[in-house]
Amino acid sequence: MSETPVQPGNGDSGGAPTGATTATSGDVPQVPDASLPSAEGAARTTTAALQPASPPSAGAARTAPAASQSTSTPASERADLRPENIQDAVIRLAGNSQDGIQTAGAFLARLAGRSDHDVMTYMTIPATISGGPSIFQVRIGSGEVLSAGDEADFLVAFYQHSYQDHIDFLKEGGVLLYDSDNVEPNFDDKRFVYVGVPITGLTIEALGGTAKDKGKNIFVLGLISKIFSLDVDKLKKIISEKFAGKDQSIVNTAMMAFQAGYAYPVGKVLTHQYRFEHLPKTTGRAQITMDGNQALAYGLIAGGVRYGAGYPITPWSSVMEALRRELPKYGGIFVQAEDELASVSLALGFSYSGYLAVTGSAGPGISLKTEAIGWASMAEIPLIICNIQRGGPSTGLPTNVEQSDLHQAIYGGHGDSPRVVLAAASVEDCFYIAIEAARIARKYSTPVFILSDTSLATRIEAFDEPDLSKLMVDPKPDLSPRQTFKPYPVDAITQHIPPGTRILDGKYPLLSGLEHDEMGHPTGSPKLHMVMTAKRRNKLRKLAEEIPVPEIYGRYICATSIHCPTAWKKSSPSSNGSSPWR
């Protein structure tokens, strides 16, 4: 990432999650969905546009193609074909989810990552069960990218509905690239540059009839590579890597589609070509490119989490799927349980056994975990709970983004049940916050919530490769014998020791959800209850002394202040690529 300082105000934009908005639970929520027109004016965050040097109206001034035969329209006012340097572009691919627009967009994002550019993506998940209209938006920048952008500089429309639903999100002067086999734009609207390409036909032509229109995404990628002067070799390498292990014919087909798109004489209809400015990176570290849920899963692994349990739910599922796939490599286990009640209990079993564990869900499942999380507070067991938030309440809007579960995270338990609540601010932060959550959970023997959301879960960003050799945490439990042991010492922070640990004085600890004495045995004494309640609370006070004051993005408007003992930590994207937590 560049050294550009954080720009205040940008945190308010569409796709970017902000802690502040979540605090208005009960109020009409902010609906940070790009399909909602954002308020005019100040909130717009896409500052650098496609034409940094030319006046903003330069694109708009170009005449639109005369008629429906747009592909053959001669580029009468052909300008210089030398690429213009740009610093930032928002490219929106609008089609159906089965067209592979996510795949194409992910290739662009990875290329940006490998090219030292900053990148942020945004996607929608169709509400229908499979397939259906969706978008994938990629913003690439030579400076720091803090939002995926509310408006696009460059819109690719595969269908008439894509055109209709998204043309209003194209900036004045922006370029509409459309499949002229499917889309008829309204050329009377003089705000945009129209570039029609018979994408469907040309893809079939290139790949042969059997492919139907599969491959359109890669054809478009070829087109975009030409228009934005992308590094074709790097991109081809990324494509082949993706299909590595698959049938060679798949790679070949993809290359053919790409080549066809790249070779298309787009210069005939679009007078400009662009090139992202190269600002050499100063950190000297390569970038890695992934989405928020991946970053979270790998962060947990780096933080020493080897066990977990969950139950599928959008948008949490991809975290658990990644962990189920990855953990066996590290000797661990992730269990898909019969429900959320079982999964949090399994995770507590793992943690009790000495391996700090993770469970997670979205709102409905987190609600089901409430009782057991209270046990973690009372029995003082470390545990990480991920809530990848979605639209609520109840089943709500399962595929839309919302941040309305903060109050529940803090106040959801019955009784005085302190817990730590962290919220991730960026994809990179998902990685580091997971490590931090693991550290806090262990050090304070406490449940720790990580809040993320649909948008962060699914969006791709590039960030400086973490220095794993410094970060990796050893998960091995310490089973060395103890002379004597109190699970709940009144005068110290509880440290969990796992079964298998010999206690030489022969007095073994019991962990309990009943109010208990220092050995874990039940008490009904109000005096002891006060002491133990204070003990559980005070460790979060200790934590509060240790953590830095949160950085604030944008205007901080908050209806509720967060009370101790619940520590609320709004993590921030690091501006120099290093973990803010070290």
Partner: protein
């Protein structure tokens, strides 16, 4: 599995595991409660087996019977109502070196915890689960339990229970538990035998123990209590001795035969209904881990994650 041992500093020699060493608080159960017998049998089995003290883990949900872990001096946890099977599952899966013992009541196991029981059973997670069945909610003072017979007068069925009760044996057999036995708190020798066999079994082992609640459902088990002049019919297991008598004996690996035994009316029969050696989830996950680790060339954690990140550049 990640290695569970760290290089431990030298510790003193072990002494023999005595009843005294594993006894903790004096039980808060009512005098005469059947659960005392279960505790006594458990102590005896532990003494007999001479397990490493620190590897004994007792776990429970909530209920009178679920107070069990407080009365055993060993690592343990007293969890929430009905969810102890998944808690125990986590411990069992992560720590094959431990002996996981789980205790609870009929309400904890068959009412609120019924689903976890079924899924623990089908996944065949290695543990020994003791259900102290008193046909009533003891701790909450006499409500109808899932095993209360029709007609039982409780605070929630003042004119007598009307819902057909759960048949624990049927539920366990159909769910796929791999060791299923039934015993009685007045039959300490038989109970000890069942505990030992359950403990020796690899897989999800459940013992239902009829255990009288003298406070809220006294004398319920009379017919099955020889002390009180009732009968206690023990299942005769096949000896595979090719005798004609053996034809009539029970084959514990025969699921249908077990189900048939489960159809007998109260008090039914006691002993092992079913046992089978299906692979445990513990073993299956371990196998997957081993083949996966092999594919990575048994690389270090750091190497594996670094490689993954390299692919994401």
């Amino acid at each position: 599995m990640p290695e569970t041992t760290t290089s431990a500093p030298p510790a003193p020699e072990r002494e023999k595991l005595t009843k005294k060493a594993i006894t903790a608080d004096h039980p808060t159960w009512c005098p005469g409660c059947g659960d005392f017998a279960v505790l006594a049998s458990f102590y005896k089995v532990l003494e007999k087996k001479q397990l490493d003290h620190e590897k004994i883990v007792t776990l429970a949900g909530i209920g009178c019977s679920s107070r069990f872990p407080y009365f055993v001096n060993g690592h343990g946890a007293h969890f929430i109502h009905g969810r102890a099977v998944p808690l125990a599952s986590g411990i069992s899966l992560a720590r094959p070196d431990l002996h996981v013992f789980l205790f609870g009541g009929d309400g904890d196991g068959f009412s609120i915890g019924g689903n976890h029981l079924n899924h623990g059973a089908r996944k065949n997670i290695n543990m020994t689960y003791f259900i102290m069945d008193n046909f009533v909610y003891g701790l909450t003072k006499k409500q109808t339990s899932p095993t209360s017979p029709i007609g039982f007068k409780s605070k929630t069925d003042p004119t007598g229970a009307i819902d057909q009760p759960v048949n624990p044996m049927k539920q366990l057999i159909s769910a796929g538990a791999t060791f299923i036995a039934r015993t009685h708190a007045t039959q300490v020798k038989h109970m000890m035998e069942m505990i030992e066999r359950a403990f020796d079994h690899q897989g999800f082992s459940v013992i239902e123990c009829l255990s009288e609640c003298v406070e809220f459902y006294p004398d319920v088990f009379d017919p099955a209590d020889p002390r009180k002049g009732g009968s206690f019919d023990v299942i005769q297991e096949k000896k595979w001795d090719n005798t004609p008598e053996d034809e009539l004996r029970h084959d514990v690996t025969d699921e249908l035969a077990a189900y048939k035994l489960a159809q007998l009316p109260f008090p039914g029969v006691f002993g092992v209904f079913y046992q089978n050696d299906r692979p445990t989830k513990n073993a299956l996950e371990k196998k997957w881990i081993e083949s996966t680790r092999e594919k990575t060339g048994n690389a270090s954690d750091l190497e594996i994650l670094q490689k993954t990140f390299d692919r994401m550049k």
